[in-house]
C-alpha cells in the first residue's frame, strides 16, 4: 500500500507540474470513517459516500432525483411476465489502474456476473473475503429473488427472477449493486491478497482512489478515461471530521468547501454568513410513532385515532424540528411519485379524542409505555423531547404514558420483537421506490416478531395492494394502488406519523454545480469551484 500510494502521489505531482496549473482540489468534510472500500459489505451512508466516486452500477439514479437512468448498462428490457431482465452493457468503459494492477480489457459481462456471484454464491472464491456480510443483498431478499444470472455475450446479461419484482430495477441502482472488476479480483487472488479488492478499490467511476489515511483523509483524483462527463475538479479529498461544530469551523476557515449534517442550531448563523451558502431538500425519510396493534388497547382503531388526535403535531415540529421538518400525513414523503396528497391529516382535537376513548370503553384513560430512541436520527432530532411533548398531550386526554428507552441496538431488537406498546422509530429510503417504505414498515410479512413493521399491523387489504403494486411495471397503475393503500393506512391509523425531516448541506459560496440527492448520498461528479 505504502509504495503504491507514494507512486500515485508522485505521478499526481508530476502530472500537475506538467500541466503547469494548481490542481483544483475540493475538500469535503465527511462525518466519519468508511468501514472499507466495498459498498456490498456495508450499510452505512458514510461508507457509500466514500465509494461512490470510484464505482458505478448498471443503473444510476438521475442526479437530484429518484428516477433511474442508464449507468454501465446502456439499456434494459423487462419481459412480459416481469421475471426476466436483459441488460445491454455499455461498450468502451475503462477500468482504473493502480500500482499492482493494470487492466488489459474494458468492462464486460464477466464483471457483472462476478459482482453478483460474489454476494450470492458460497462457491465464489470471494464470497467469504472481508467477512462477507452482504447485508443489503440479503435484506433486499436477493437470494430469494434471483433464479439465475446468465451472460448471453460479452455485453448482454440476463437476470432471471423467481417472481416479478418491479423495484428490482431501483435495487440495481443501489450501492450494493456496485460493479467490481473480475480481472482485478483474479489478479489479487493469484497474488494471495484477495482482501485488497475491498481496501484499494478499482472501479469505472469518475474518480480514482489514491489513498486512505485511517480516520484522517481519503484522497481521489479525477479518472481521465471516465466514460461519462468528466469531473470538473482534479482532486477530491474527504477530510474526516466527526464533530458537526468542528466541521462548520473548518468550512468557515475554508479548510473544506462542503460539509454534511450541520447542527440544527447552527442553521441561522450559516444563513447569515456571506461566505457560505446553504442548500436544502426534503429528506426521503419518515419519523413516526408506532402503536403495537397486537396489544390492548391498541388493537382498537378508535384508540389509535384518538391518539392521533390527542397529540399536537405542529408543536413537535416547532419545538424539536425547528424548521428542519415538514409534518407527515403519509408514510412516504411528498417527493415520492406515489404520494397521496388527498389524505387529510387528523386534526389536533383533544375533545374528539376523549370521545373516541370513551366509545372504546376507556373514558378513564389507560396506562401505557412510550419508547424514545436514545440517539439522534436523520428523521428525528430528539426522540426524548418528542416523547415528553407527546406525554403531556396524552395526559390531557387521560392517557398516562411512561417514557422508556434502551441502548440503541437493544431498542431496535425489542421494538422489532414487539415488546412495546407505543414507540418512536423512523426510516430513510434506500432506492426511492414506495415499495421500500410500505413493505418493510407496514407489510404483513414484516409484522412477524423480529420484523421491521413495528406496529405489528397486518391488514390483508393493504398488504394485497402493496404486494400487487410491486409486480406491475406501469407507474400510473402502481400509483393508483399505492394511493389506495395510503387511504387504508390512514383509516386504520397504526402509526402517529410525525415528520419528514429536511436535509441541509452547507457549502462555501465558491462551490457550484452541487446537486443534492434525495436519497441522502453525497456526489461530487458535477461540482466545480469558482
Amino acid at each position: 500500500m505504502s509504495n503504491r500510494t507514494l507512486a500515485v502521489a508522485c505521478a499526481l505531482a508530476v502530472a500537475l507540474l506538467a500541466g503547469g496549473a494548481r490542481a483544483k482540489t475540493l475538500v469535503y468534510c465527511s462525518e466519519g470513517s468508511p468501514e472499507n472500500f466495498n459498498p456490498m459489505l456495508n450499510t452505512t451512508g458514510t461508507t457509500f459516500d466514500a465509494n461512490r466516486p470510484v464505482y458505478d452500477r448498471l443503473i444510476e439514479f438521475k442526479p437530484g432525483t429518484t428516477e433511474l437512468e442508464p449507468g454501465l448498462a446502456e439499456s434494459w428490457e423487462v419481459s412480459e411476465d416481469g421475471k426476466t431482465i436483459i441488460f445491454h452493457l455499455r461498450h468502451g468503459v475503462k477500468w482504473q489502474a493502480n500500482r499492482s494492477f493494470t487492466p488489459t480489457r474494458d468492462f464486460n459481462a464477466d464483471d457483472v456476473l462476478f459482482s453478483f456471484d460474489r454476494q450470492w454464491k458460497d462457491a465464489n472464491p470471494y464470497h467469504k473475503v472481508s467477512g462477507g456480510g452482504y447485508d443489503y443483498f440479503n435484506d433486499m431478499s436477493f437470494p430469494k429473488l434471483l433464479a439465475a444470472i446468465d451472460k448471453s455475450d460479452d455485453y448482454t446479461v440476463k437476470f432471471t427472477l423467481n417472481e416479478p419484482q418491479t423495484p428490482f430495477l431501483a435495487d440495481m441502482a443501489m450501492d450494493f449493486s456496485t460493479i467490481q472488476s473480475k480481472e482485478y479480483a483474479d489478479a489479487l487472488l493469484k497474488a494471495g491478497k484477495p482482501e485488497l479488492i475491498d481496501q484499494e478499490p478499482i472501479g469505472t467511476g469518475p474518480f480514482e482512489f489514491v489513498n486512505y489515511q485511517k480516520d484522517a483523509t481519503i484522497r481521489y483524483r479525477a479518472f481521465k478515461d471516465y466514460w461519462g462527463p468528466k469531473p470538473k475538479i482534479d482532486v477530491l479529498v474527504f477530510a474526516i471530521t466527526k464533530d458537526p461544530s468542528v466541521r462548520l469551523a473548518k468550512l468557515r476557515a475554508n479548510e473544506c468547501q462542503i460539509m454534511p449534517y450541520p447542527n440544527p442550531a447552527d442553521l441561522a448563523s450559516i444563513r447569515s454568513d456571506p461566505s457560505l451558502q446553504l442548500m436544502q431538500q426534503p429528506g426521503l425519510n419518515i419519523g413516526y410513532m408506532s402503536m403495537n396493534t397486537q396489544k390492548k388497547p391498541f388493537d382498537d382503531k378508535r384508540v389509535r385515532i384518538a391518539i392521533n388526535m390527542a397529540i399536537d403535531k405542529q408543536a413537535i415540529l416547532d419545538a424539536v424540528y425547528q424548521g428542519a421538518g415538514q409534518p407527515a400525513k403519509n408514510l412516504i414523503p411528498p417527493t415520492m411519485w406515489a404520494y397521496n396528497n388527498d389524505i387529510k391529516d387528523f386534526p389536533h382535537d383533544p375533545e374528539q379524542a376523549k370521545k373516541l376513548l370513551a366509545e372504546a370503553g376507556l373514558a378513564n384513560g389507560f396506562d401505557t409505555d412510550l419508547w424514545a430512541m436514545p440517539v439522534q436520527r436523520p428523521y428525528n432530532p430528539d426522540a426524548r423531547r418528542i416523547a415528553e411533548l407527546m406525554q403531556a398531550d396524552l395526559a390531557k386526554v387521560g392517557i398516562r404514558a411512561k417514557i422508556v428507552s434502551y441502548e440503541w441496538g437493544e431498542y431496535r431488537k425489542r421494538l422489532q420483537a414487539g415488546d412495546h406498546q407505543m414507540a418512536q422509530i423512523g426510516w430513510t429510503g434506500d432506492n426511492g421506490d414506495p415499495d421500500n417504505f410500505f413493505v418493510p414498515l407496514a407489510g404483513c410479512a414484516a409484522a412477524r416478531p423480529g420484523g421491521g413493521n413495528s406496529a405489528k399491523w397486518c391488514n390483508q387489504d393493504f398488504d394485497a395492494l402493496v404486494n400487487k403494486a410491486a409486480t406491475i411495471t406501469n407507474q400510473d397503475q402502481r400509483t393508483a394502488l399505492y394511493k389506495q393503500a395510503q387511504v387504508i393506512m390512514h383509516q386504520e391509523a397504526p402509526f402517529f406519523l410525525i415528520a419528514h425531516s429536511i436535509v441541509y448541506m452547507p457549502m462555501r459560496k465558491e462551490v457550484t454545480g452541487y446537486v443534492m440527492s434525495p436519497l441522502g448520498g453525497h456526489l461530487f461528479n458535477t461540482v466545480d469551484l469558482q
Partner: protein, 334 residues
C-alpha cells in the same frame, strides 16, 4: 536495583490478566452486539442474526468466549476488527503514533510551563503571582475539554485565523507515513511547508490536551516546593549565603520533584482519557478516536485489544516512573 525491577515487572502479569478480564467483561455487559449495532432500522431476519452471531462465536457462553480470547491473546493474536476486518494490532500501530505525538507534546507543555509556574508561585507565596497562578490552575484543572477545545477553535482558528481548525496537516500536503509521527515525516518530506503545517496543526490540540496536566503539575510543584522550602537544610543553604536561584532550583526543586514525577506518571494515564475527547474534537486520527468508534459499533476485538494495549502502555509508563524515583531518591531502591 535488579530486584526492585523484577518485583515491579512481576506485578505486571496479574495486572495484565485483570485488564483483559475487565475489558472483556465491560464491553460484553454493554447491551447490544456487533451484529445488532450494524443492522439499523431495517432490522435483521432472526435466522441471519443467529448465523452471523455463530460465525463470530457470540452464541457461545461468555466464559467460553473469555477463555478462547485469553488463549488467543496469550499466543499474541488480538484478533481482527469485526467492522474493517483488519488485524487489531495493525490498526493500533497505524494510529498510535498520532496519539503519542499529541500526548508527548501535551505532557512536555505541561512540564515546561507547569513546573516553572509552580516554582514561581511557591517562591512568591502569598503574592499576586501566587494567587493568579493558582486561580488559573484551578480553572485549568476543572476545564471541560470538549468546551475548551471548541472555544480555542472558535477564537484562534475561526475568528483570528492563526491556527488550522483540525487534522494533522493541511490537505494540500501529502506526506507518506514512514514513522507515523507527522512532525518527523513532514520534516523529511520534500515539501518545505509541510513541517510548518504539521506544527501549526499540533498547537491547539496539544494546548487543549495539556491544560489539565499543566494545571495539576503547577499545583503539585507549588505545594511540594512549599514543603521543601521550609526544611532545615534549605535554611542552612541560605545561611551559607547561596544565591536564591541556587537554593530554589538546585537544593529545593530536586527534592520536590518526587511527588511531581508521581503526578506526571498518573497524568499519562489520564492523558489517554483526555486524548479521546481531544482527538474527537480535532479530528486527530489516534487511538482515542478509534476506541470510541469501536465502542459505538460494539467492535469487541478492537475494544478489548485496544484497551489492553493502552493498559500495557500505562503500566510501562508507571514502571518508568517507579524507576525514575530510584534515580531521584536512592532510598527507594532498597
Amino acid at each position: 536495583m535488579l530486584r526492585f525491577l523484577l518485583r515491579r515487572v512481576s506485578l505486571i502479569i496479574p495486572t495484565f490478566i485483570g485488564v483483559t478480564f475487565l475489558s472483556f467483561l465491560l464491553i460484553h455487559l454493554v447491551p447490544g452486539d456487533p451484529v445488532l449495532a450494524r443492522t439499523g432500522e431495517r432490522g435483521i431476519a432472526p435466522e441471519r442474526l443467529a448465523l452471523l452471531r455463530h460465525e463470530m462465536g457470540l452464541d457461545q457462553p461468555l466464559w467460553r468466549q473469555f477463555v478462547r480470547y485469553e488463549g488467543q491473546v496469550a499466543s499474541g493474536d488480538l484478533g481482527r476488527s469485526v467492522v474493517t476486518e483488519e488485524p487489531v494490532w495493525r490498526e493500533f500501530i497505524t494510529l498510535f503514533p498520532a496519539t503519542v505525538e499529541l500526548s508527548v507534546c501535551a505532557i512536555a507543555l505541561a512540564i515546561l510551563v507547569g513546573l516553572p509556574l509552580g516554582v514561581l508561585a511557591a517562591s512568591r507565596r502569598g503574592t499576586v503571582y501566587d494567587y493568579t497562578l493558582m486561580g488559573a490552575s484551578v480553572t485549568g484543572a476543572s476545564m471541560p475539554i470538549f468546551w475548551w477545545g471548541l472555544m480555542m477553535i472558535l477564537v484562534f482558528s475561526v475568528a483570528l485565523g492563526w491556527t488550522p481548525v483540525s487534522g494533522r496537516i493541511s490537505d494540500e500536503f501529502f506526506v507518506q507515513p514512514v514513522t507515523g509521527f507527522m512532525l518527523v515525516d513532514s520534516l523529511f518530506s520534500d515539501d518545505a511547508g509541510a513541517f510548518r503545517s504539521a506544527v501549526s496543526h499540533l498547537i491547539l490540540p496539544a494546548i487543549v490536551l495539556g491544560t489539565v496536566p499543566l494545571a495539576t503539575v503547577a499545583r503539585m510543584t507549588r505545594s511540594a516546593m512549599l514543603e521543601v522550602l521550609n526544611e532545615d537544610y534549605i535554611r542552612t543553604a541560605r545561611a551559607k549565603g547561596l544565591s536564591r536561584g541556587r537554593v530554589v532550583f538546585i537544593h529545593a526543586l530536586r527534592n520536590a520533584l518526587i511527588p511531581v514525577v508521581t503526578v506526571i506518571g498518573l497524568q499519562t494515564g489520564a492523558l489517554l482519557g483526555g486524548a479521546i475527547l481531544t482527538e474527537t474534537i480535532f479530528s486527530w486520527p489516534g487511538v482515542g478516536h478509534w476506541l470510541i468508534e469501536a465502542i459505538q459499533r460494539r467492535d469487541y476485538p478492537v475494544v478489548q485489544g485496544g484497551v489492553l494495549l493502552v493498559a500495557v502502555l500505562v503500566m510501562l509508563v508507571n514502571l518508568g516512573v517507579d524507576l525514575l524515583y530510584g534515580v531521584l531518591n536512592p532510598r527507594i531502591r532498597r
